[in-house]
């Protein structure tokens, strides 16, 4: 993982494209922010480090001209899914892939440092980050502060790319671990699950950060959470309405969620937004042996069918 390799790749790609979507440093030392490089002199500000958590692929469908993009393994699933759904023209995207061993979750770092303002932060290259605050320094293992998705990452190397900045790496995480959290939640009682969601979703402020940051939420400005034609939910702030919004979000992503975790990352209220979608993904895997964003030739399961569904049994009363 080196910023230099990424910069080299960007320099190589830039003459061919309008802009290259990548990361730069953010407002403090533990934040990265997306940046759009369109001239060689801007390459200097580009960074690549475990801070680069954002899934930049989300910007692709709105791009009109040919662009370059830097993606991690997990982000590449978004591109594959876009290809499945015909949402991007692959010819107009130059992909710089980065083999990635894991990023950091700012929320988890902040928890570790007591939400203090950050003065400085550095990576030592051996899997830890040292953060300095007015109260002192703290060194954290990236493995301890990575987003949950990194813990079970199956695709550290992008599944689709034109240039690879680094050598491919393979996952050392067991495949069964991916839906372990879902199975654990399934094991709870119905009442526990109900109470869980009522508590979590009650915090929702309907800011739609989860929706807008979601690479697969294609509706964006036309989202039925805000329209009156059709009028699915009202502007009341009841739990019922919040629940309904999250169900809309989940059902519209059924068999489409690429598990990039952006919704969880961006939620200012720390709601586990991705959980319902992950549950559906687990079921899609079980029912149709379908995994999102892995094979560009797959068909999303909700937009196709088999005349004989082997796994769907008629329900008895």
């Amino acid at each position: 993982m080196s910023t230099e390799k990424v910069k080299e790749a960007i320099a190589k790609v830039l003459p061919d494209v309008e802009t290259v979507i990548c990361w730069q440093g953010g407002f403090d030392a533990i934040h990265a922010t997306p940046c759009f490089v369109s001239s060689p002199e801007q390459i200097d500000k580009v960074i690549w480090s475990p801070l680069c958590a954002q899934n930049l692929a989300s910007y692709l469908p709105s791009m009109k001209k040919k662009v370059g993009i830097v993606v991690k393994g997990c982000d590449s699933r978004t591109i594959v899914q876009y290809m499945q759904e015909g949402l991007i023209d692959r010819e107009k995207v130059v992909i710089i892939g980065i083999p990635c061993t894991g990023v950091v979750s700012v929320k988890k770092i902040l928890k570790e440092i007591g939400h203090e303002a950050v003065l400085d932060a550095s990576f030592d290259g051996s899997g830890s980050i040292t953060v300095r605050t007015p109260k002192g320094e703290k060194t954290l293992a990236i493995a301890d502060v990575c987003p949950d998705k990194c813990r079970t990452c199956q695709y550290p190397t992008p599944l689709v790319y034109d240039h690879l900045a680094g050598d491919p790496i393979t996952s050392d995480k067991p495949k069964e671990s991916v839906y372990q959290d879902i199975r654990e939640f399934d094991a709870k009682t119905l009442e526990e699950r109900k109470a869980y969601w009522e508590k979590e979703l009650d915090r929702c402020i309907r800011c739609y950060a989860c929706r807008n940051a979601c690479p697969m939420c294609v509706c964006q400005d036309s989202c039925i959470a805000e329209t009156r034609e059709p009028h699915w939910i009202s502007q009341k702030l009841s739990l019922q309405e919040k629940f309904m919004f999250h169900m809309i979000h989940a059902l519209h992503l059924a068999g489409r969620c690429v598990e990039c975790g952006e919704c969880d990352r961006v939620c200012p209220m720390d709601i586990p937004v991705s959980k319902m979608k992950k549950k559906i993904n687990a079921e899609m895997k079980e029912l149709f042996n379908y995994e999102t964003g892995v094979n560009p030739d797959d068909k999303p399961p909700m937009f196709t069918f088999n005349v004989d569904e082997v796994k769907i049994k008629e329900h008895k009363l």
Partner: protein
């Protein structure tokens, strides 16, 4: 009676219980990793260590409120006749906001100008504001993204506050700001804090110095050319995902929408927060939208806070520098950076009038 109180740490809960006797007391509570204001009850986990994720603005200015309810009524004698029955409830119970931060309280001052200090005050807001006691807690240190001092605030600012607590060793110094605030010194848990006021002032001073000031050289003089230049916004906002996190978490954003929500002949007229980041903001019935892109809409957000509001209210900036929009932005858009860039290097001479007036 002393002018300054002292509240020992161990008595904080008792103090809140005392307040809760004749008011609903909203306190910052920890839920998982999130701090949110909740009406106090014994099972809540109080969190005074850091600002709440959401400011307490919704307690006085709810995210969604019923202006009135209506019901179509049939005349029992003549079913061809129908009338509409309206029910309005603007009553507000006695409320205390405990543990808000000075920036949060300062937000209310920005709203007061709009909703109360006008010829046509908003009865809903006014009633709630009047019936609410705001007890703030000054910040001992800045948090990621904070820049209150840049917009004329302070980690121990007292605007909009009725009484302010400052943490010192063993407890909190209680400084009343308004008459309403003075009353809490009478509560049995509050001791005389006069002698230790200076400890608090020292802490306040230290905190003030620790806060980053993005406008250290003075408030940028926003360039009208840059402000109206589309490429500027396109450059600055390409990464924005147009969600409403910044506006809904902002203690000073107050745009709203009014909708009728009805099912089968009865319903309510709802006033709910709008967000200029959303496409539906200013979307007209004809489907024309004067602000069709996120660039134009973000321009409105910056303009409202740093240009239009100051123009209307004697230079007062409609930003309290709480830093939430930076802290919680999915893509780390930094409004202070944008305002600085809009200045193009030019600085205003003085501090914002909003704060100067009250000093």
């Amino acid at each position: 009676m002393p002018d300054t109180g002292y509240l020992p740490k161990e008595k904080v809960k008792d103090f809140i219980r005392e307040l809760a006797k004749d008011a609903i007391v909203h306190v910052p509570c920890l839920e998982g990793e999130t701090v949110v204001f909740r009406p106090f009850s014994e099972d809540r986990e109080l969190c005074l260590e850091r600002p709440a994720n959401t400011p307490p603005k919704s307690i006085i200015y709810p995210q969604s409120e019923t202006l009135f309810s209506f019901e179509h009524k049939k005349d029992p004698e003549d079913h061809q006749k129908m009338s509409v029955e309206l029910k309005v409830d603007i009553d507000a119970p006695g409320t205390v906001i405990f543990g808000a931060r000075p920036c949060d309280a300062r937000g209310f001052v920005i709203y007061d100008r709009v909703f109360i200090d006008t010829d046509t005050p908003d009865p809903y807001y006014k009633k709630r504001r009047e019936n609410t006691l705001v007890v703030t807690l000054s910040c001992a240190a800045p948090f990621p993204g904070c820049f209150c001092v840049g917009v004329g605030g302070s980690p121990a600012g007292k605007e909009g506050t009725d009484a302010m607590l400052t943490e010192i060793a063993g407890g909190y110094i209680v400084e009343p700001v308004t008459e309403k605030g003075k009353a809490i010194l009478n509560k049995p848990m509050v001791e005389d804090g006069s002698t230790r006021l200076k400890d608090a002032q020292q802490a306040q001073q230290k905190a003030h110095e620790a806060v980053k000031n993005p406008f250290a050289g003075g408030m940028p003089n926003i360039s009208p050319e840059l402000f109206d230049a589309d490429p500027f916004w396109e450059q600055a906002l390409s990464k924005c995902v147009s969600c409403g996190a910044c506006t809904y978490l902002c203690p000073t954003c107050y745009c709203f929408n009014i909708t009728d929500e009805q099912v089968y002949g009865k319903g309510e007229r709802i006033r709910s927060w709008d967000a200029c980041m959303f496409f539906h903001f200013t979307l007209e019935a004809s489907t024309h939208n004067p602000r069709p892109t996120k660039f134009q809409r973000f321009k409105n957000r910056v303009g409202h806070k740093f240009v239009y509001y100051p123009e209307k209210y004697e230079g007062a900036i409609a930003c309290c520098g709480c830093g939430r929009c930076i802290r919680y932005c999915p893509v780390s858009v930094d409004i202070s950076e944008i305002v600085n860039d809009l200045g193009g290097g030019g600085k205003k001479e003085q501090q914002p009038a909003g704060s100067a007036k009250n000093d």
